[in-house]
Symmetry: C2
Subunit: 431 residues, 2 copies
């Protein structure tokens, strides 16, 4: 070390973006997770560890690396857009999900971009579309991490009326009308929808609303295009009922709806691979931004996923995951009935899929990090949940403060039941 | 499909960021690569395919996935900051490179952030620090992809005088003095240095300049901290000469210098894993931004790298890669001597490491995509290089137009020789 001089150590001046990205809910939540390690977690959005495809990945890694040529290809740089092999496999995957032949999907693999989880796609889209002050319309409650992403680019998020069938088309029309009257229609860039088993509410957007919302987006694209972002992260985790046509399929020209999906929930989050299907004229912008960010997500992971998809292991795995989660959802619903049923004013949503049960308490009972309930639950009853207020736009509305997101992703059916028993105990003390 | 109505298809309005990120050099270059697939490529920054660690990764994947507990852990979500196991292994790695015991490095693993290649770290830092119009001081020429990242956040890039020993401290002082006189010192956020075998110039920053530049950054941190970003991507690829102390080690308090490194060049780019060592007070900002971007790079890849580092396979592999690249560098230098030696006014840098030879032609001979030389080289001689002008800030200076970056990363020694023969033929026609 060549100097004894004390550095000037002047204060660090961060960018506006860094300030916007500070104090996001996910940070508080992870901190709470760390501080409450002994709690049973009904909070974590992790997937079921016992169902992770260890054997499937071992076989696929061995197949890829057992051959020098395919091994070398997997370990070399890929492209910014991602592996052609995986993008081709995704076309077939979409064909299966959409129940139409590949050549009737109306897209080519050139419209697919592979990302680091679908989260990166959401972030790239926010970056590509929103100037500070631009508007995104969302259901309320909705996926709180995306609310943080929107905050991070200085966008404004407006909540649209939502019920047990998802975002209400008439409420959407009303908000758009008000914005037009206020001269702000040109700032509306996007309508964000978690179409299946929304995180956190478990709600599935009704079929007729899917059609209606796309029509509204088209009709209100008076000054510039209003895009619809369909976040279908949980789509493959349906436990009962018939799959609905995607929002994306309601826009056969594929000019208004962006489809975001991921392999994190259906296969393995450790591979951090998601994808988007984009309108052609949005591709270059997203690709340029991704080029600057990382010039491509890990090629090795993409090739590994292509291997399990082509071999059919992926499809088998999803089937088994679905069966396991169905049991856990049922365990949580049964425990809700058993322990919360007797408590007056407590209601919850029965999700047809996904990883979450959304529960509402009588309104005076608040659920936030500072609330009596959260403190009692984590300190005395050793159980943790996600406060519902995190899932509402913080700066442009009045979040409901009496709700909780309960995840059945991580714990076993037995521990789900025990967690629900503990939580009901804490709630009872606060009623 | 439920409608025959044509969508309004109003034009897409992109963000300011999307416009800034458009038209980057890397895009043009990749396009040229695609259009000239039949060329021998002295352009591609890819690594030597024949040296990719297929066997090492197979053993490591098998070890990780052969055990249910470690397999599940690898396939689960990690944290935004990245695997503790890999960050601990990196501490030992740094201890080896810096030649001091781990406990004298002056950091803990909490100051290490794992990213999607070091590229993502560069992008996150740009996002965390630069408001539009803020300034970054760079060597010229320098790594053109980072110039694109800076453009992408609206930063201004100023070239500092550079010679065969890297950025000149006296030139740096002069630029800072001029900025102070112009009242712009408070906009200087960063000095960017590729310390070893710079991409593209092959130049290594001299030891005494490393000390001097850190001192200058500290001394000129009058209004706010001026950070130094040491991009040490090629550090482990040294073929002769003694390793120099890092720039980072010249700042024992680790408050001014950020160290960026990657496993892409030394091991496998397909794993897309890099890392940064950050001043403590910059950690939260980078972590918040990364949380929004992807909440963590692929955990699976991080665990795989930790496995090869702990087993010692990594270190062995780097040794063998180094030997292979030394031969290829020597092949390129010998071919330069043979084919370009006879051409008057052609000079080149002999790099002690890295992947690039930097060649200057007599000034009237331009090398850009539109130049006679580039057209002749790619169309008639089937050989491609990177035009040197891409490696200078485009908007704040006059790039030199008579230089070329020649990569010996991808081709075999024989094809490097053939590529150089072809290129010399094209140059001769343009003299």
């Amino acid at each position: 070390m060549l100097t004894n001089e004390r550095p000037s150590c002047r204060s660090l001046v961060l960018s506006q973006r860094a300030h916007w990205a500070a104090d996001q809910a996910i940070g508080f939540l992870m901190q709470q997770g760390l501080e409450n390690r002994d709690c049973l977690s009904l909070a974590a959005g992790f997937v079921d560890e016992s169902r992770l495809p260890v054997g499937e990945c071992r076989v696929a890694a061995d197949a890829l690396l057992g051959d020098l040529a395919s091994g070398r290809q997997a370990l070399q740089y890929g492209t910014t857009q991602g592996s052609e092999t995986l993008r081709t496999a995704i076309l077939h995957h979409l064909s299966h999900l959409e129940q139409v032949p590949v050549d009737q999907l109306g897209i080519t693999r050139e419209q697919i971009v592979l990302t680091t989880g679908s989260q990166q796609l959401l972030a790239l889209l926010a970056d590509a579309l929103f100037n500070p002050g631009d508007l995104c319309l969302v259901a309320a409650p909705t996926y709180f991490v995306f609310l943080g992403v929107l905050d991070g680019v200085g966008a404004k998020t407006l909540a649209v009326g939502t019920d047990e069938h998802g975002m209400q088309p008439e409420a959407l029309e009303q908000v758009l009308g008000e914005l037009e009257a206020a001269g702000e229609l040109s700032r509306v860039k996007m309508i964000y929808l978690v179409s299946d088993f929304e995180n956190p509410s478990g709600v599935t957007l009704a079929a007729e609303r899917r059609t209606a919302i796309v029509q509204i987006a088209k009709r209100w694209s008076k000054e510039q295009r209003i895009l619809v972002l369909e976040d279908a992260a949980y789509r493959e985790l349906r436990y009962d009922g018939k799959p609905l046509p995607s929002v994306w399929s309601q826009d056969p020209e594929h000019e208004h709806v962006i489809l975001a999906m991921t392999f994190s929930k259906s296969f393995a989050p450790g591979l951090r691979t998601g994808f988007g299907v984009l309108p052609t004229d949005l591709l270059a912008a997203v690709s340029n931004l991704k080029g600057n960010q990382d010039f491509g997500s890990a090629h090795w992971n993409q090739q590994l996923l292509a291997e399990v998809m082509v071999s059919g292991q992926y499809q088998k795995h999803v089937q088994s995951v679905r069966e396991a989660y169905r049991l856990k959802r049922d365990a949580m619903l049964a425990a809700a009935e058993e322990y919360f049923g007797p408590l007056e004013g407590v209601t919850w949503v029965r999700p047809e899929g996904g990883l979450y049960v959304w529960m509402s308490l009588p309104k005076p009972v608040e659920t936030g990090f500072q609330s009596q309930l959260f403190q009692r639950a984590t300190k005395h009853h050793q159980v943790m949940y996600v406060p519902g207020e995190l899932c509402y736009p913080q700066k442009t509305g009045t979040p409901a403060r009496h709700q909780m997101r309960l995840s059945f992703g991580v714990l076993s059916p037995e521990l789900i039941r025990e967690g629900m028993r503990r939580l009901a105990g804490a709630v009872q003390e606060c009623l």
